[in-house]
């Protein structure tokens, strides 16, 4: 093309041989041929004798046509550049400064902003490219390129508004097995893979779910040796009304208490396992049939108010409930859902088949605060109350029925990343109170060691430091060493009920947890954690561990 343009323009100044030049111009323009070809054809028509005056008019017209072709070419080039930029998800290149495409093309990545290279003077030199006058974009205002969302980041979703995210964690390493007298055992757990489908039904109505596969599968299959679960961890539809008030329709939802119960993706904490407070005192992942309202009260202050199926003092399998939705009849006996050893770890309500063991509804309220005057600080207070945790047909092993007992939980926590430093601090306190411990199954199950007092509590403090490691494999790595101290007391004393009281001291536990978390990107984390567990059991906690982990969230 450049040859064509050159050969045409070089011939224009000369008026010596109008006829020949005219023939060459016509041929070159029509056929986009080279100079030699044009002249050859022109020579062949040398003897043609057109009228001189008509030639001049025609020549002018041709020159105009040529000019027009150049303009069109440059516009086409601009349009191509914009297409390329758009295809790469970038904002379009601002239209050119009116110069032919040839001058702007050389060596420029079409997605990079163009710099005015000339004609702008000092003012132009000091301004970004867009500040200089440009011809109006003929494409006009266009809507955002509404690409469909992705399926786990791999391919575009076939359904606009539908996307599937995922998080998961793998764990491995050495840990003491208290059931084997504290023997150190090497192991691996594909702990969880969670798929997160979201569908924007309308801009104000949003579907969300979490489908969780735990421990590598769900089948009991001797060949594949699977023994995990597949569960719906969350499923709900949000009606976003106004900033201050939104409604989450009844579904399976997380209890909004503390921070990690709701934000339990492995990138949200630095240890391989979740913080110790969430191992039972807060029975993470604590989910329940629930509905809630939530919103923003003022700058940085958010609330959630939730009604949910009550926690139940029943630790048996799903199939141990009777068809009457009661505990197995006397004198079969049944395990407690609230114990001094596992805290509240076994008593989450069921989410399926209308098999709840009581009519009671719990309420949870949470206030989260990110004060504008203290950047980097996030905190929350939350409280859970259920009027009764005793299941239908509950009884003591002596045969006496057990009456109602309420449960109140209070949690306060903060996370503070000191601005402009790598320092991060976290702290949490949780307190549980039982309305009538004499009615708790653990205090009436003839096991004298798992008794529950009037209260349980726990606290933890954590320090972490964020250290940038630089760019490697085209991503910015970060190293986060941390140390956390946790103390849990799930057997405070003041036991009641029909059992003898002989707690072993296993309910009072200290945890020293230290390690590093390496974030190749904020969506991936590689973890190494050392943990020392100390309790008051004369036999020892026998639960120390050295674990590695891989987590992701996208």
């Amino acid at each position: 093309m450049s040859c064509h343009r050159r050969c045409v323009s070089t011939s224009t100044p000369s008026l010596a041989s109008t006829g020949r030049r005219l023939a060459a111009l016509m041929t070159a323009t029509a056929l986009s041929a080279g100079l030699a070809h044009a002249q050859e054809v022109g020579n062949g028509r040398d003897k043609s004798n057109a009228a001189a005056s008509g030639d001049v008019a025609l020549l002018r017209k041709l020159e105009q046509m040529e000019q027009r072709i150049r303009v069109l070419e440059s516009q086409l080039k601009q349009k191509d550049n914009q297409e390329i930029a758009r295809a790469r998800g970038q904002a379009p290149v601002p239209p050119a400064d009116g110069k032919p495409a040839k001058d702007r093309r050389d060596g420029d990545d079409p997605t990079q902003p163009k710099q005015p290279k000339d004609q702008k003077g000092l003012a132009g030199m000091l301004k970004p490219d867009w500040a200089t006058p440009v011809p109006r974009d003929l494409t006009g205002k266009t809507a955002p390129v509404n690409r469909p969302n992705s399926i786990i980041g791999l391919v575009d979703s076939p359904v606009t508004g539908m996307s599937i995210g995922a998080y998961g964690e793998m764990k491995f390493g050495l840990q003491q097995n208290p059931a084997a007298g504290g023997q150190w055992q090497n192991g691996f757990d594909a702990h969880r893979l969670v798929l997160l489908p979201t569908y924007l039904i309308t801009p104000n109505i949003i579907f969300n779910a979490e489908i969780e596969f735990e421990h590598g599968g769900s089948a009991f299959d001797a060949d594949d040796k699977l023994h995990g679960s597949a569960e719906i961890e969350q499923i709900w539809i949000d009606f976003k009304m106004i900033d201050q008030f939104n409604w989450r329709a009844p579904g399976i939802d997380l209890i909004p208490i503390g921070y990690i119960n709701e934000h339990h993706e492995p990138t949200a904490f630095y240890s391989v396992n979740r913080p110790e407070i969430y191992h039972g005192l807060i029975p993470s992942t604590w989910k329940a049939p629930a509905t809630s309202v939530y919103g923003r009260l003022t700058d940085g202050l958010y609330y959630t108010l939730q009604a949910s199926s009550s926690f139940e003092d029943f630790g048996g399998d799903f199939d141990k409930r009777t068809d009457g939705n009661a505990v197995p009849p006397f004198p079969t006996g049944y395990p407690a859902g609230i114990t001094g050893v596992d805290a509240l770890g076994l008593g989450r309500p069921v989410v399926g088949d209308f098999r709840q063991l009581s009519n009671d509804i719990a309420v949870t309220g949470q206030l989260s605060y990110s004060p504008p005057m203290l950047p980097g600080f996030n905190g929350s207070v939350s409280a859970y109350y259920t009027p009764n945790t005793t299941p239908r047909g509950a009884y003591a092993d002596a045969g006496l029925p057990l009456g109602r007992s309420s449960l109140t939980m209070f949690d306060a926590e903060f996370r503070y990343r000191v601005p402009n430093t790598g320092v991060e601090a976290r702290g949490e306190y949780v307190f549980v109170s039982f309305g009538n411990p004499a009615n708790l199954r653990a205090n009436n199950d003839t096991d004298s060691t798992n008794n529950v007092g009037k209260t349980m509590y726990g606290y933890s403090g954590e320090l972490a430091y964020h250290l940038p490691l630089g760019n490697f494999l085209s991503t910015d790595w970060e190293l986060v060493p941390f140390y956390r101290y946790s103390f849990l007391n799930t057997q405070t004393g003041g036991f009641a009920g029909s059992d003898l009281n002989a707690p072993t001291g296993a309910g009072q536990t200290q945890f020293h947890t230290a390690g590093v978390a390496v974030f190749p990107s904020p969506q991936i984390v590689l973890k190494a954690t050392w943990q020392k567990v100390i309790n008051r059991d004369p036999a020892g906690a026998n639960s120390d561990s050295v674990l590695g982990g891989v987590g992701f969230f996208f």
């Binding site: 301004k127 008030f245 601005p419």
Partner: protein, 156 residues
């Protein structure tokens, strides 16, 4: 329990009906333009979803609308740049997800003011991470960085 529903439901319905314009769109493009350039009397389109703000014929800056994906869904945001290519203001126009709305906090968005294409714009260094809105804060920051790379560069 039922009393709680009795008390809040009418309030919710009333609130939803009385202010439907709020919805989940917090700012229209027009409103965000006026917030960013109160003295501008003209916004001249400068390409797709990009405007030059002008007072008379004086150039006040550039206004760019773009979107990023938060955790799952799009966040629409706008960036106002001054004529030297520095960020004057960042606004969230529309936020659709159930979590992570904290990126709308003015205090967090104010961190972008004064940033230029030579600023690092990295969450965790010059921009704070929001715990609970990790992906949203990460992606909005990347979006602003992208806009600065496209429009905010200067000729050396």
């Amino acid at each position: 329990m039922t009393s709680w529903v009795r008390l809040t439901l009418p309030a919710a319905v009333a609130a939803a009906i009385s202010s439907p314009s709020y919805a989940v769109q917090y700012l229209t493009i027009d409103a965000a333009q006026k917030l960013a350039f109160p003295s501008a009397n003209r916004f001249v389109e400068n390409g797709s979803l990009t405007w030059k703000a002008q007072a008379a014929d004086r150039l006040l800056g550039l206004f760019v609308v773009d979107h990023v994906i938060g955790k799952h869904l799009y966040i629409d945001y706008a960036v106002a740049l001054d004529p030297t290519g520095r960020v004057m203001r960042v606004e969230i126009l529309q936020y659709r997800e159930s979590y992570g709305g904290e990126v709308r906090e003015p205090g967090w968005l104010a961190q972008f003011v004064g940033k230029s294409s030579s600023s690092p714009l990295k969450v965790g260094s010059d921009i704070r991470n929001i715990s609970g809105a990790t992906l949203s804060s990460l992606h909005v920051t990347e979006g602003v960085r992208r806009i600065l790379a496209t429009y905010g560069s200067r000729t050396r």
